[in-house]
């Protein structure tokens, strides 16, 4: 009995230690260092709050953040709106093998890197791109139009790259919804809109919030898509961090922005959870 217990302990340590080391060395330690940097002055190393105050003093910084957060919420909302009918179709309308095939169709684009996917969009949409070529040939446009480098294209790109992370959890909860419950609502006189509003969306709430948190965090922290598809005016907050660290070599300022991003995005999620009366623990459990 004793011997057995010893075995379990060693086995446990064997698997547990790499996780602890990984968490500590690669996540906790760098963050502690960044936290220290964010509270010190660049050259002198003195303790200061200037790095954080700069964010509120310079309108360009906090305006960029508000813009980023606003667009992230918009993208999350758009992804929710699109993924509901998509999930409903995959989960309830098609049967058997088709479900798997459609899931793979959603998954396949994510086998290539984000960079390749964004370049794909650029080939489609740029002035000399495929879409322009067709539209001009078919006579819809007189001359090619630049479709890249604006906010609408950027939002479309962000919606596309984060779709999967909403569809998968929503399909998960939608599969649990008994068809007869939808039929019962229909039988009791509910219109299609009423069924969505009173039955399907409330049932899928946990999946939507779950996917919503993932999508919001991903979009808020994304760098490639807004940078490549957005125009010169489409500033994204991650670009500010990048600029501080790489262009101005101001690690202290970049670290402060990084922690502000973490704190403010956590605050936004907390507020949204409170507003929708969802409990984070319960959402994550599902």
């Amino acid at each position: 009995m004793m011997k057995n217990r010893q075995h379990i302990k060693w086995g446990f340590l064997f698997f547990f230690l790499p996780v602890v080391l990984w968490l500590f060395l690669l996540i906790v330690l760098p963050h502690l260092e960044l936290l220290r940097l964010s509270f010190t002055k660049a050259n002198t190393g003195k303790l200061t709050l200037d790095n954080y105050l700069a964010f509120f003093r310079e309108p360009i910084y906090w305006l960029t953040f508000v813009r980023t957060a606003g667009y992230s919420i918009l993208v999350t909302f758009l992804v929710m709106v699109i993924s509901l009918p998509v999930s409903f179709y995959i989960s309830k309308m098609v049967r058997g093998r088709m479900t798997g095939a459609l899931m793979i169709l959603i998954l396949v684009p994510f086998w290539v890197s984000e960079l390749i996917r964004v370049y794909g969009w650029m080939i489609l949409l740029r002035e000399s791109g495929i879409l322009n070529h067709f539209l001009v040939t078919l006579g819809f446009f007189k001359e090619p139009v630049e479709m890249l480098y604006n906010d609408i294209t950027m939002i479309m790109g962000l919606v596309y790259t984060s779709m999967l992370f909403m569809v998968v959890p929503v399909i998960g909860v939608m599969d649990d919804l008994d068809n007869s419950i939808i039929e019962a609502a229909y039988d009791l006189g509910a219109s299609k809109i009423a069924i969505w509003r009173t039955i399907i969306i409330p049932h899928c709430a946990s999946g939507l919030v779950n996917g919503g948190i993932i999508v919001f965090m991903l979009v808020l922290g994304s760098y490639l898509t807004p940078n490549l598809m957005g125009g010169k005016n489409s500033l994204w907050f991650t670009e500010q961090i990048y600029n501080q660290i790489i262009l101005y070599f101001n690690w202290n300022q970049g670290a402060a922005f990084g922690f502000l991003l973490l704190a403010l995005s956590s605050l936004i999620i907390w507020v949204l959870l409170k507003l929708t009366k969802q409990n984070l623990k319960e959402v994550v459990k599902k």
């Binding site: 419950i181 019962a184 609502a185 009791l188 006189g189 509910a190 049932h203």
Partner: protein, 370 residues
């Protein structure tokens, strides 16, 4: 009087398979109508067509004389109690019951009043605030029915709603459902594979098999005068004896069993077709133990008792007619009159000729593995 529900030649095909084949019936207003059949006989398909979830491939559905062709389920004056009840887990009991009224656009204290009066009617006056997961099986049952009754439907459809309950509760709910139906006076169309449910509750029962109705009648008619071999086997218990038919000198039809016993039949058969194989049906309850002499139109058989199955009021004797391999089930009334019968005894059993029926042989798969 106009029928609450009139089904005329309704047909439904899935590919090559005809699930419901030219079914017609009428249900009078305020009646309890049951459709009884084994699983896979098409009764659920028929019910879903009445509710509007399937579109019939042929035939007409009328509610109070109004044609329902092309009318969506949410526009039909009919509500369905689902097999798994399908209560809305995201709402409490009150919201579940009020759901239909709200969809009609009803608001305000009138809705609350109706919900409360319905909760009282189904005997759960205090449970409006409860969540669905807090209810027991029987309570869910009542809420599911209340949720439909509040719509005051022309016809309430019930799809084996007692199937998920345990045996004792099911017995109780049978009586309760019948009482509720006669109180509210709504027309019920109830489908089930359980013949006891159908017989206890219904004014009229239709026995369904392979997509068509075998017989429509009162429970008593189905029990005493089955019109087909299937009904004889499916409704109530029956002994089935394989027999050959011939006519005797007086023109009576004689059923010969095991080349040894000749049973005279009250039914008349035409000469043609007598060479086919037939089954003779005798109810266990119709068989009398040690009948004694001097009965008219009576058939007695000497038998060996093979076993005694004691089950209170439902006790039975298993007996073997002398010189055969067949087995008969005989009801054993618990009047203490037959207490002396032991396994292995040789006794006489007999039955009134008018209580037997004989049909051409057809074997039905009565129960499939679900």
């Amino acid at each position: 009087m106009e029928s609450a529900l009139s089904v005329q030649n309704v047909t439904k095909r899935f590919g090559d398979f005809t699930a419901v084949d030219q079914v017609s019936f009428e249900v009078e207003d305020g009646k309890f109508f049951s459709i009884l059949g084994p699983s896979g006989c098409g009764k659920t398909t028929l019910l879903r067509m009445i509710a509007g979830f399937y579109k019939p491939d042929g035939g007409t559905l009328l509610f109070n004389g109004k044609n329902m062709d092309g009318v969506a389920p949410n526009k039909r004056p009919v509500n369905l109690v689902f097999q798994n009840l399908a209560l809305f887990p995201m709402m409490n009991v009150h919201e579940n019951i009020a759901f239909g009224l709200r969809r009609r656009g009803e608001r305000g204290p009138e809705v609350d009043r109706k919900v409360r009066s319905l909760l009282e009617r189904v005997g759960l006056p205090e449970s409006g605030k409860k969540q669905i997961s807090q209810l027991s099986g029987g309570q869910k049952q009542r809420i599911a029915i209340a949720r439909c009754l509040i719509m005051e439907p022309t016809v309430l459809l019930l799809d084996e709603p007692l199937g998920a309950l345990d045996a004792k509760l099911r017995e109780h709910m049978k009586v309760e459902l019948k009482t509720l139906q006669s109180q509210v006076g709504t027309t019920f169309v109830y489908i089930t594979h359980d013949q006891s449910e159908a017989m206890v509750m219904s004014d009229t029962v239709a026995v369904m098999n392979n997509g068509h109705f075998e017989q429509i009648g009162t429970p008593q008619e189905l029990y005493h005068e089955p019109k087909s071999s299937f009904v004889a086997q499916f409704v109530g218990n029956n002994n089935k004896l394989r027999v050959r038919l011939h006519r005797d000198a007086e023109g009576d039809t004689i059923a010969r069993y095991s080349d040894r016993y000749d049973f005279k039949l009250a039914q008349k058969f035409e000469q043609s077709g007598l060479e086919d194989e037939y089954d003779l049906f005798i109810r266990p309850e119709a068989v009398i133990i040690n009948p004694g002499e001097g009965r008219e139109n009576f058939q007695t058989v000497p038998v060996d008792v093979t076993s005694i199955l004691f089950d209170g009021g439902n006790s039975r004797l298993m007996v073997k007619p002398l010189g055969t391999e067949g087995e008969l089930v005989v009801a054993l009334p618990q009047t203490r009159e037959y207490d002396s019968i032991r396994s292995g005894d040789r006794i006489q059993v007999g039955w009134d000729l008018n209580k037997t029926v004989c049909f051409k042989r057809s074997d039905w798969k009565l129960y499939d593995e679900e």
